[in-house]
């Protein structure tokens, strides 16, 4: 079908076209600008529904593939396609972006540029999840930085400039090393097979079948370069220091997309590239990486506990939750990896909602200090109810979305290493501690601060922003199979590749290090 060939391109570039069209709008026409931006984001969402509606869960390969030469002289193609893992991440992106736009409705400062950057950002994020050409992937990967840099730097808080530059430089360092690794892989593949191409499926196919094997040294270096890029983005402990700064200073919508989607680019990269391309090194270094992930889980939770600032608390909780995802990925089990993907989506939904909620009271009070609040339930009952559900979802209450992912990750990890699972499970307990304690201090009790006496409950627009996320929280908690089954084929396929690496053998690689 013609549409199937075109749909990925449409989904990816509709926001960009919208952004270009936005240039033609008059700066003063605030309503038209944000209305148009929302319409574009919604249109993108509707288009992306086609992907899931026509997705064939039985197929393990890439679907909706489009592959046309782009820079032929360099072996670069415009090559896009999705599988059971990326289809959800694209949907997450297209679903969160309109909500983020809705959440920015009351913005008045330079709205045109703001929405323009939001739309460009959306194109970048979708592109990362859809690109199958390594060059194209890198291009989208870096493009994402620029709109986010502006969103933080122009519309952020006090220390926004510091946070914006730190965000860019941290992510860049990982990214550029990955670029060199991509080039090295390209030449190794080209010299071995005579086919100079950046096509990920082509390189993967020859890596696993046709006798193009990386030497252990080469595989190690390439793995490290890719891993560094992804680990900084995740962020895995100890590469996480940019995250709290970026989150605290970013405007609400920026935080929603940063936590909801941008961090997932890192874990997605691990799944899509690190594991299949470098299975030997992934196995070899898995214990080390798992330990870092566990440290991240516990450290993130402990630090979150003592934060006086709501946004910082949520930011550190992200470090903790993302640790689970990495742990699941490096368990090399179906449960662990499906749990990781599930947790990626679920964290996007819950943390997205948490940032929206924090943003709503920040807009009213212009502070995010926990100590400034208390007793909000008396003044904002609807808000309090929503907040409670989201808090519980973030903790991982059974029946809500957060539980499924964490449970699967722990299940997968336990089968491989009970000790790891035991340590990681403390993260679940700690998350209950910091989230409930925070919730108690902000929402329960009497109104102690006179500034909170006259707070208005959330309005219709804010309800509309939160409603889709609430539905998802319950849906993903109850009918997890709706989401899990379509990934089965892709995850099994991935594991096959990781468990049966051709060429190098894990043991010979280990010898190298003795």
């Amino acid at each position: 079908m013609q549409l199937d060939k075109l749909i990925l391109t449409l989904v990816t570039f509709t926001p960009l076209l919208g952004a270009i069209a936005l240039l033609l709008f008059s700066r003063s026409n605030l309503k038209a600008v944000r209305g148009f931006a929302l319409a574009v984001a919604l249109l993108t969402f509707v288009l992306s529904l086609h992907l899931i509606a026509h997705f064939d869960p039985a197929q393990s390969g890439f679907q909706f593939v489009v592959d046309v030469p782009w820079i032929a002289a360099a072996g670069i193609d415009y090559h896009m396609g999705i599988d059971g893992i990326s289809v959800y991440l694209i949907l997450l992106t297209t679903a969160l972006t309109p909500l983020a736009i809705l959440a920015s409705w009351s913005l008045t400062d330079r709205t045109k540029e703001y929405f323009l950057f939001m739309l460009v950002l959306e194109t970048g994020m979708i592109g990362v999840f859809a690109a199958l050409d390594l060059f194209l992937f890198y291009l989208f990967w870096e493009i994402v930085l620029i709109p986010m840099y502006f969103l933080i730097g122009v519309w952020g808080g006090e220390r926004r400039i510091y946070a914006a530059i730190k965000f860019v430089l941290f992510t860049m360092i990982g990214g550029v090393l990955m670029l060199v690794a991509i080039l090295a892989l390209y030449f190794m593949h080209g010299n071995a097979t005579g086919d100079f191409t950046f096509s990920y499926p082509a390189i993967l196919a020859t890596l696993s079948e046709k006798g193009f094997a990386l030497t252990p040294q080469a595989e190690l270096l390439l793995f490290i370069a890719f891993f560094l890029a992804f680990a900084i983005k995740v962020p895995l402990f100890p590469f996480h220091t940019w995250l709290p700064d970026a989150h605290v200073e970013a405007p609400t919508a920026g935080s929603v997309l940063l936590a909801g989607v941008l961090l997932k680019m890192g874990t997605y990269g691990l799944l899509r590239f690190s594991l299949p391309l470098f299975p030997n090194m992934s196995h070899l270094l898995a214990p080390l990486i798992s330990v870092l992930a566990i440290i991240g889980i516990i450290y993130g939770a402990l630090v979150a506990m003592v934060q006086p600032d709501l946004k910082k608390l949520v930011a550190y909780s992200s470090v903790s939750h993302l640790g689970f995802i990495v742990l699941g990925i490096f368990s090399f089990t179906v449960e662990g990896i499906e749990g990781a993907v599930y947790q990626m989506l679920s964290h996007g939904v819950s943390t997205g909602a948490l940032f929206l909620l924090v943003g709503m009271i920040y807009e009213r009070r212009h502070t995010r200090m926990i100590s400034e609040f208390g007793g909000l339930a008396n003044r904002m009952p609807v808000y309090a109810a929503v907040f409670l559900i989201v808090t519980l979802s973030s903790i991982g209450l059974p029946g809500l979305n957060g539980f499924v992912g964490e449970f699967l990750v722990l299940l997968g990890t336990f089968g491989v290493s009970p000790g790891h699972a035991a340590f990681a499970a403390t993260g679940v307990i700690l998350s209950a501690v910091y989230m409930l304690w925070m919730f108690q201090r902000v929402v329960w009790g009497e109104v102690t601060n006179p500034h909170n006496e006259s707070l208005m409950d959330i309005n219709a627009r804010e309800k509309l922003t939160l409603l889709p996320l609430l539905i998802l929280i319950v849906w993903m908690g109850v009918y997890s199979n709706h989401f899990l089954r379509p990934m089965d084929a892709s995850v099994t396929n991935l594991l096959n590749r990781v468990e049966n690496p051709q060429g190098g053998d894990v043991r010979t690689v280990e010898k190298l290090f003795r």
Binding site: A72, A73, L139, V176, L177, F187
Partner: protein, 485 residues
């Protein structure tokens, strides 16, 4: 004795530029001088000259091969640089028209010098013989010395010219000395004969090495590769802004054109040595240029250091010593010209008489005052930094690709890491424009047709080379093919 065949077509662009240059000098005295503050007929005449020279490339290209007893060569490589240099000259002319009026130095000689300097660059690109290259180098240099000091009542402009002249003379001397030594060793100054003579067993290798070192130093000076870059920041800062733009793209590209042709044609015998040396110099240049650019408070000076850094990137492609490297370097000079001239166009528009408002702090809040100009400058800066989708990224990508291919992965790693450093200072300008409170008033910065034209060319070049580099890459690859014999 045979009279060598005179092939006028193969040097037609040079003839056209020279004729226009002389015409400007001759006509100018007869023009009424009172109009100087309002109109610049000589500027537009010079622009017409560059257009005509551009057209003259077509017949030149149709007469490929050596000419004038092997002094001159017309191939894809020289054609490429003819196109590049004439385009640079045209854009610089357009940039200068308003600038000169504003600075009250609207003299025709300026344009004549610009055309002559461009002719010098063309001579450098098409020469197949060391003395010819030297003549081209001198024509270019003398023109640039004068243009650098063209704001003659301004101290910094004088300093700029004097510094450039003194150090440039050293470089010329180095070059000549190198030519003398290689002539002594091989008995020829023709590149192809030199290359043939190098293969002889009785060649004195010390002379070969010494000459290579001298020639390399002289040319590294011209392209401002560390440690021969010391002159560049002061010279760039003091020169008139359009000339700063010209100097950071034109002579740099010309220097690299000679480096490529000279070393790949005449010195392949010792290529292991000079590629190593060049690799180290490239690394040094990238590190030094980028790191020092971070602390510059003056935009022109910052761009000067960034231009040193960019010379480092092109030097990486040179050190790769391959067809890919040559192709990448050519692509980069093109991309670099588009984005740099674009950036200098914005600086020219925003600066005032006597070069005021070129401090980074002056750009605070520009995005609220002049959103269009701020957006364009951001685009050029992001391209210089190497953000995907822009010419700068495509260029860097091809260069690092060549480096990895040539087993110089370490150089590529240094390259990408210094790119991260460069993000800091390019983004800092954007920080000023978008994230700080408005300061200076820029409401009187005028966009004239000439400047709009420059910006249009620069923007379309930056985006076209960034998004659809394929066609251009094929062209540069074909041009670089003629390099190695």
């Amino acid at each position: 004795m045979n009279i060598p065949e005179i092939n006028i077509y193969s040097i037609l662009p040079i003839i056209v530029l020279s004729v226009f240059g002389i015409a400007i000098m001759v006509i100018e005295p007869f023009l009424p001088s009172r109009n100087r503050a309002t109109s610049s007929p000589m500027g537009w005449l010079a622009f017409a000259g560059t257009l005509a020279a551009g057209v003259a490339i077509i017949p030149m290209r149709n007469h490929p091969g050596q000419a004038y007893s092997g002094l001159w060569i017309v191939d894809e490589f020289s054609t490429f640089f003819h196109v590049l240099f004439i385009a640079i000259a045209g854009m610089t002319t357009l940039l200068s028209i308003d600038y000169l009026r504003r600075e009250s130095i609207n003299h025709g000689e300026y344009y004549a010098l610009l055309l002559f300097a461009t002719a010098g660059m063309l001579v450098m690109a098409g020469s197949n013989e060391l003395m010819m290259i030297f003549i081209g180098l001198e024509i270019l240099s003398i023109g640039t010395y004068v243009m650098a000091g063209f704001r003659r009542t301004d101290l910094r402009s004088n300093e700029s010219a004097l510094k450039y002249f003194l150090l440039g003379s050293f470089a010329s001397a180095f070059f000549l000395y190198g030519v003398a030594l290689i002539f002594g060793a091989t008995g020829s100054t023709n590149l192809i004969s030199i290359s043939a003579a190098m293969a002889r067993p009785d060649i004195q290798s010390s002379l070969v090495y010494l000459s290579a070192a001298l020639l390399l130093s002289a040319l590294c000076f011209k392209v401002a590769v560390a440690p021969f870059h010391i002159w560049a920041p002061d010279v760039y800062e003091g020169a008139p802004t359009p000339i700063t733009g010209f100097m950071s793209v034109g002579p740099k590209a010309a220097g690299f054109a000679v480096l490529f042709r000279l070393f790949m044609t005449a010195y392949p015998v010792i290529e292991d040595r000079w590629t190593d040396v060049m690799g180290v110099l490239a690394a040094l240049t990238m590190i030094l240029g980028n790191v020092v650019a971070v602390v510059q408070p003056n935009l022109k000076r910052m761009l000067a250091y960034s231009s040193i850094a960019h010379a480092g990137y092109i030097a990486v492609a040179f050190a790769a010593n391959s067809q890919q490297g040559g192709s990448a370097a050519l692509f980069y000079t093109l991309a670099y010209a588009a984005m740099t001239l674009g950036a200098f166009a914005i600086v020219t528009i925003l600066s005032r008489a006597k070069d005021e408002k070129v401090q980074l702090g002056d750009y605070a809040g520009l995005a609220t005052k002049r959103p269009g100009l701020a957006a364009l400058l951001s685009l050029f800066l992001l391209s210089l930094a190497g953000v995907p989708g822009t010419a700068g990224f495509a260029g860097k990508f091809f260069i690092f690709r060549a480096a990895v291919e040539a087993n110089m992965t370490w150089l590529a790693i240094i390259g990408v890491l210094t790119t991260v450093v460069s993000f800091y200072y390019y983004l800092y300008v954007i920080v000023q424009m978008y994230m700080r409170e408005p300061g200076e008033d820029f409401s009187d910065a005028r966009l004239t047709p000439a400047l709009i034209l420059v910006l249009l060319i620069a923007v379309s070049g930056t985006l076209y080379l960034g998004i659809l580099p394929g066609k251009t890459l094929e062209w540069t690859a074909a041009s670089a093919l003629h390099l190695s014999l």
